[in-house]
């Protein structure tokens, strides 16, 4: 279905593009929200990505590549949104997610606040790769193809992102341990 719609939209059919936007909108928003962690800017990134996609669609050579192409545009829009305030350098209030709140494997390992703090301190390029890898389940090669960067760059960013997250969680754990020591 996408292929026909993409071809129609690339020839200026706005209704076809509207269908594509609604079909892919949820996934775009989910990706943007996980990278940016802010509702307003996630919405802005999605809108911006859709407008750019519409403008650039005639340049897409292979209609079957529409989804990864759209994801590439979205990720760039997320970089732009993040860049506007360079918020990864700051302490950002992270919106709570509506996920399960009970004890589970990851809350036993580290609570959500710790992970949030570590995650928002990552540069957006590392966050994007973590989202594409852990949320969309893409391999480094697929991520490289989506983002248009060498696979080695993806593997390197993934490695550093994992290391940074591990360091952030370890640092938080040490801080908590020290605090417990002072109060006991």
């Amino acid at each position: 279905m996408d292929r026909d719609l993409v071809e129609q939209a690339s020839h200026g059919d706005r209704e076809a593009f509207g269908v594509l936007a609604r079909v892919h909108g949820d996934r775009l928003y989910a990706i943007a929200h996980r990278i940016l962690r802010e509702i307003d800017r996630s919405e802005d990134a999605v809108q911006q990505a859709l407008v750019i996609a519409w403008q650039e669609l005639p340049r897409l050579r292979d209609p079957d590549r529409f989804e990864p192409w759209l994801h590439r545009i979205l990720v760039r829009c997320c970089y732009s949104e993040a860049r506007r305030r360079n918020e990864w350098r700051e302490h950002v209030r992270v919106l709570p997610f509506d996920g399960p709140g009970g004890p589970d494997e990851y809350s036993a390992l580290a609570n959500r606040d710790q992970i949030d703090r570590g995650f928002v301190r990552l540069p957006p390029e590392q966050r994007a790769i973590l989202v594409l890898h852990h949320y969309l389940g893409l391999t480094p090669t697929e991520i490289a193809d989506t983002l248009g960067v060498p696979p080695g760059t993806v593997r390197s960013r993934l490695h550093y992102a994992h290391r940074a997250m591990r360091a952030a969680l370890d640092a938080d754990a040490r801080t908590a341990h020290l605090a417990e020591g002072r109060t006991s």
Partner: protein, 261 residues
């Protein structure tokens, strides 16, 4: 100490949670914007699938010339998508000279004759903006250490198209360039710290003239913004638009700038 596999499992679960459904208004607003947005056509694209009869070529060439004149006239009297205000007045607008420094086509400038003027006492310039846009003056002087990392700093004058479904922001400020520092070095420092994909090397450059002063426009549609830098009496003025593909609109703003003595 956590192991790498624990980190991966943690991230799997952490990133599985989060928003899944985009609000309808987000898509609606984007589609509203698209209703007024043209697609970029690929030069040399296969518009014709059959050979054109030779007798039609002169006629179509003539039609193309007429179409260019008509479309050009429309673009000069109305911006393509922006909320740029009402009827033009009789006041002529200053023009921006765009000596070609990069292989980009000369954009159609928006008609600025009905724009209203904003004067920045703090930064010593006056600029026009569409009447429907809201100007907000900077609250303090722009300082490199504090404001370079924050592109939306309140130390810049802001102009926002609040009436549009898809808001556009233009910012402007000026600051002294340290003695012994070149304009290029200052610009390089300004972009320092941006993601690699938005680095200076990836930006398209275009020479511009603003109120008779030579400047440089850096266009970066991948990173959705463009900035113009103009050095005037040892102070660098920075004008930016924070949307992709809107460098022509920024040039329209630049065409209205006059620097105060």
């Amino acid at each position: 100490m956590t192991s790498r596999s624990e980190i991966e499992r943690t991230l799997d679960r952490y990133l599985a949670e989060g928003a899944e459904q985009v609000p309808d208004r987000v898509i609606d607003d984007a589609l509203d914007e698209i209703d007024h947005t043209s697609q970029r056509r690929v030069m040399g694209a296969p518009w014709r699938f059959q050979a054109m009869p030779s007798f039609l070529k002169p006629a179509l060439a003539g039609a193309a010339v007429i179409a260019v004149v008509v479309v050009g006239g429309v673009l000069l009297t109305r911006g393509p998508t922006d909320n740029l205000g009402g009827q033009p007045s009789a006041t002529p607008s200053p023009s921006v000279s765009t000596s070609v420094d990069a292989p980009s086509p000369t954009p159609a400038l928006t008609d600025t004759r009905n724009w209203v003027s904003f004067t920045s006492e703090r930064y010593g310039y006056a600029i026009g903006h569409p009447p429907s846009w809201t100007p907000t003056a900077a609250v303090r002087d722009w300082e490199f250490e504090t404001d370079q990392p924050d592109h939306l700093t309140a130390a810049a004058d802001h102009f926002i198209d609040r009436g549009a479904a898809y808001q556009i922001l233009v910012t402007a400020f000026a600051t002294d360039v340290a003695t012994g520092m070149s304009e290029d070095e200052w610009i390089a420092d300004f972009y320092e710290g941006d993601p690699a994909s938005c680095s200076l090397e990836n930006k398209e450059r275009k020479a511009v003239s603003v109120d008779g002063h030579a400047g440089m426009l850096f266009i970066d549609d991948n990173c959705s913004d463009s900035q113009a830098f103009v050095l005037v009496d040892g102070r660098i003025h920075v004008f930016a638009i924070w949307r992709a593909n809107r460098e022509a609109l920024l040039e329209s703003f630049l065409s209205t700038v006059s620097f105060q003595p």
